[in-house]
Symmetry: C2
Amino acid sequence: MKLKPKYFEDFEVGLNFESEPTLITKEEIIDFASKYDPQSFHLDEEAAKNGPFGQLTSSGFMTLGKSFTQIFKTGVYDGTSMGAWGIDELRWTKPVYPGDLLKTKIEVLEARKSAKNPRRGTTRLKHTVTNQNNEIVMTWISNQMLRTKS
Amino acid sequence: MKLKPKYFEDFEVGLNFESEPTLITKEEIIDFASKYDPQSFHLDEEAAKNGPFGQLTSSGFMTLGKSFTQIFKTGVYDGTSMGAWGIDELRWTKPVYPGDLLKTKIEVLEARKSAKNPRRGTTRLKHTVTNQNNEIVMTWISNQMLRTKS
């Protein structure tokens, strides 16, 4: 489902939409972990059996990047994103395993035009990532800068 | 500089230490962005000239994973990390460019033993990432679970 690019004014408080699902593979989990989160329970199937989750799990940083990319791929940021300045209240609520099918829903919590620069504003976007069993695996709030329409 | 693994009890409030520096390359920025943050200003040098930063910049998610890995490589989590349950107050304060040399300092803000499980506790660790000019490019607080000594 491709959406139209959304400017700051289009992200009205309460607006929500959902991404397409993405499959998480063992190969991607291991590849990501080798560079950005080399803990044994993200990197090595055998070692993970004795780790805190009893099996291989995705790096939470990878789940974060995947969920942003899922929203990006809807098209809402095309030509309108000016980057983000922060994240608040990120919570990893359940482990993500190889074979999980994740999707991300966002909801606009707040929208605030820049006092300094009328050509942009910040939206606070709550991201909720769920797996194939509809369990919430991660939530996070981004402070996303967007161009205004003017 | 390799440090000894630290258990929950070793992360005393106020303790701080620093990672080795890591060079950020253009190739890594583009490779990461292609999978986890495909915004044009992280992905395409030419397009980035017209983007919000005027040049190619690292995905903030990549900077996050790099800074965790820098601390991980000190050895403090070897056999003691039980994963993290969240991040608070992540701020990207300056762009990260190809050729930047980043390092990460952590400071223990709080330490709280689990009420449910005496074999672990959560430490709140403030991460401060700086570049070669000693400018702060990112700060974030992790809620890191660690094994207790018992």
